[in-house]
Amino acid sequence: MYATADMLLTSTPAHAAEQSQEPAIEVVLVRAVLQGDREGFSRLYELYAPLVHGILLARVPRAEVDDLVQDIFLHAFKKLHTLRDEAAFGPWIAMIARNRAVDFYRRSKETVEINDDIRGSEPHDSRAAEILEVIRSLPEAYRETSVLRLVEGMTGPEIAARTGLTAASVRVNLHRGMKLLRQQLGFMEGL
């Protein structure tokens, strides 16, 4: 069974670690994977795929996101032994995702048309794609947190725990990003 954002809300590692002295779930899972437990990595994938998906969605064309998510987790599986702090799996894989998005544009600068890719066939999809485009036009600091909050349904504390950012930074980014988004989506009444 795969974790949704709502499930993540109830099983946030940071919260669990705060409440007890036991190591966070990703620490346990990373250790298990390093000892050869492949199922442990599947669990990590379930927990962190929405985060990676959101980070990519804020940067690369929608059509490429799913493949890139898989690539990033396969890369992480191979390079997991290089992770020094098991508790930092979230920030680590978030950084891999950001770097991969940069690499994507570096490699396919002249061949990718973002606007064509992100438009869906359904009217609802089309509207979502338009709003996503507006979010992508926001400053980079607000873009990622806005997508994680509004698209992936993660909460602010959860975004902070998973990405390694401070709660204060996430809160500010969310607030300012939402303010800019409201200004640019002046047509909200018509939605």
């Binding site: 492949r38 799913d66 794609a129 909050r149 909460t155």
Partner: protein, 163 residues
């Protein structure tokens, strides 16, 4: 604007944010199974490598044992002739003469055998025999080259000299 709802989905829901969530929710991550690469099985490769190593070791041991076992017959052939010489009046102690090449070797060997049977003597004998054999081979090669030069003069011109 309700910051609490934006922050952790608590408090009074913000209708605009809810509307955005509803629309953008269609882009949300759809779970897909991750296909991890198959674990590489190194056992067959290790088995093959171990077999090769064992075969090489066994071959080496076999060659060593064989070379050790082959050394005594060479000594026995020289030092212990099966039958005495047919002319006891001329050379009563000498073994049967097989060839002219072996004659000095056997004679010198007989002298050495009477003094001692050390391995140094055996090695010298072997070296002498080797030198004789090499000399015979060189002479044969030169003769063959001479014959070839006479029979096929054109071909020999463009060839390297052998020996």
């Amino acid at each position: 604007m309700n910051d609490d709802y934006l922050w952790d989905k608590t408090g009074q829901p913000d209708p605009e944010i809810q509307q955005l969530e509803e629309i953008l929710g269609s882009l949300r991550y759809q779970p897909k199974p991750l296909a991890l690469p198959r674990r590489r099985n190194y056992l067959p490769l290790l088995a093959i490598a171990a077999s090769l190593l064992l075969a090489i070791l066994a071959g080496g041991i076999w060659l060593r044992v064989r070379s050790r076992h082959e050394a005594p017959p060479q000594q026995a052939r020289v030092e212990a002739p099966a039958t005495p010489a047919p002319e006891p009046d001329v050379m009563p102690v000498l073994p049967e003469k097989k060839s002219a090449v072996n004659q000095p070797l056997q004679a010198s060997n007989r002298i050495y055998r009477r003094r001692s049977e050390s391995s140094v003597v055996d090695r010298e004998e072997a070296l002498m025999a080797k030198e004789q054999l090499m000399l015979a081979l060189r002479v044969t090669t030169q003769k063959l080259l001479l014959v070839r030069t006479k029979t096929q003069p054109n071909q020999i011109k463009n060839q390297h000299r052998i020996g």
